[in-house]
């Protein structure tokens, strides 16, 4: 019986006092997108660090294994994908961290708008400033690893598609560990096993492009993984945020 609930009645009074937030959920999502973009653009190092990390890790492999271009070319698709995946993982910890520390995450939870949609907006910004730059940077590093010609576009495309799934899945882990003081290592333990299907089909797409096979199937499966993640992950992220805030 909602009418008899005094708490709800109070909330309704409060809403009528301050007026219904104008525009509803659409405005809230746009505001979240804008706020996160502005915040990240003002902390450029947070955007640049994963990219530098990506380049550094790729530099380590020829030094650690061999500078032989033939050998590097055979392992390049896997190396690029694994390094990009680790770089994306590295950036996850800060996804909700500063919002948690300054209390704005709590405000996000208190807002009358659907939390999954707001969480999705935050993840979209994270992908835009982490996954997409990584995907655009990967071909350059591909040249350095003697990646065979003809696979560069597929590399960038598979990383752009795949990293969106990685951001969504990773955000679940980030939301679960945001309340913990030392969540970093735990976060990778939670998230890395879930990354494996994306890695398989992402690196597989690049391999297929090198061998001249059709890449449409791989990219289609990456798209399917993204579709499933888009449907399910926002709810899991929202539930995890509630647990982290209330616990």
């Amino acid at each position: 019986m909602p009418n008899s609930d005094p708490h709800l009645a109070r909330e309704r009074d409060a809403v009528s006092l301050f007026g219904e937030p104008e525009g509803g959920a659409g405005v809230a999502i746009r505001a979240t997108l804008k706020r996160d973009l502005v915040l990240l653009m003002r902390r450029r190092s947070e955007v640049l660090n994963p990219l530098v990390f990506f380049a550094l890790v790729i530099t380590l492999f020829p030094i650690g294994i061999s500078p032989d271009p033939e050998l590097l070319a055979t392992i390049a698709p896997g190396l690029l994908w694994v390094a990009a995946l680790l770089a994306a993982l590295l950036s996850l910890d800060s996804l909700f961290r500063s919002d948690y520390e300054d209390g704005s995450l709590e405000q996000l939870l208190l807002s009358p708008h659907p939390l999954p949609a707001l969480a999705l907006a935050k993840v979209a910004v994270h992908w835009l400033l982490t996954g997409l730059p990584l995907a655009l940077m990967a071909p350059v590093l591909g040249i350095m690893l003697a990646l065979p010609a003809g696979s560069y576009a597929v590399l960038a495309l598979s990383l752009a598609l795949g990293s969106a799934s990685l951001s969504l899945i990773g955000a679940i882990g980030a939301a679960l560990t945001v309340g913990l003081s030392r969540g970093g290592v735990l976060l990778s333990l939670l998230v890395l096993p879930l990354y494996i299907p994306v890695l398989i089909f992402g690196a597989g797409a690049v391999q297929a492009a090198i061998f001249g096979e059709g890449v449409a199937a791989h990219l289609a499966i990456l798209g399917a993984l993204l579709a499933v993640a888009l449907i399910l992950a926002p709810w899991a992220i929202a539930a995890s945020l509630r647990i982290s805030i209330n616990g």
Partner: protein, 246 residues
């Protein structure tokens, strides 16, 4: 129906009913595992290709079955806990996780031992071993996440969410790893076609699988009972049980 579920949710009621049920599961587990091992290890015919080394299957396959089933049961228990706030479900999920990780390890270890005579190596990046290894990491994640929270309620809910996320991912991981690599023998039990194994080899395996499942239920009941006592230590009925209150 609802009254029954509410009764099931009461730790005190569960403590009573599990006390009556668990001896049966212990007896069934002991009986089935003894029969299955003796039959499988001593009386089942040797495989025409692999000789006697195939007998590892009588430990490997039941452990692998249990490893997967326990994760699914853990996720179901997590779902029940999240939706109906039944605390016993969460206690059971918490108690299942280490057993599931142990069974995954047993399956991996027996698979590695089996690899020596069949492949000539301890480890092969074969589809099933790889997905088992990933499953082990998923178990570690759930156990570690539960341990990381200082508040028990948050720990329970976080572990439940992660178990549910994991269970959605298990089939995706399994199929992508299968696609990635297929080298292993075809699936041992198939639902649609008759098993390729002869009856004399297959029957003890079935008995072992049933025995392992009884063992899992018995262990879970026992551990959940002690967890109930631990978490409800301040409740009157537990103190009466311990003789602290008359």
């Amino acid at each position: 129906m609802w009254a029954f579920i509410h009764k099931l949710g009461s730790p005190k009621w569960f403590y009573g009913i599990s006390a009556r049920l668990s001896p049966w599961f212990w007896a069934a587990a002991a009986l089935l595992i003894v029969i299955g091992s003796v039959w499988g290890l001593a009386f089942a015919p040797a495989d025409y290709q692999q000789g006697n080394s195939f007998r590892i299957i009588y430990v490997h396959v039941p452990a692998a079955f249990l490893a997967q089933s326990i994760f699914v049961s853990m996720a179901i228990a997590g779902f029940v806990f999240m939706v109906w706030k039944i605390k016993v479900a969460d206690m059971a999920a918490a108690m299942m996780a280490p057993l599931g990780a142990a069974m995954t390890f047993v399956a991996l270890f027996s698979g590695a031992v089996w690899g020596v005579p069949t492949w000539g190596t301890w480890w092969m990046w074969d589809a099933r071993l790889t997905s088992m290894l990933i499953l082990l990491f998923l178990y570690f994640g759930v156990i570690a996440l539960r341990g990381a929270f200082s508040s028990r309620d948050s720990a329970s809910r976080a572990a439940s969410v992660l178990a549910m996320v994991g269970v959605i991912n298990i089939p995706i991981i399994k199929y992508s790893v299968d696609w990635w690599y297929t080298l292993h023998q075809p699936a041992t039990f198939s639902v649609t076609s008759r098993p390729a194994m002869p009856m004399e080899m297959w029957a003890p395996l079935l008995i072992m699988v049933l025995g392992f499942y009884s063992f899992f239920i018995a262990v879970t009941l026992m551990r959940t009972r002690s967890e109930i006592l631990r978490r409800e230590a301040n409740k009157r009925w537990v103190r009466e049980l311990a003789g602290e209150v008359s």
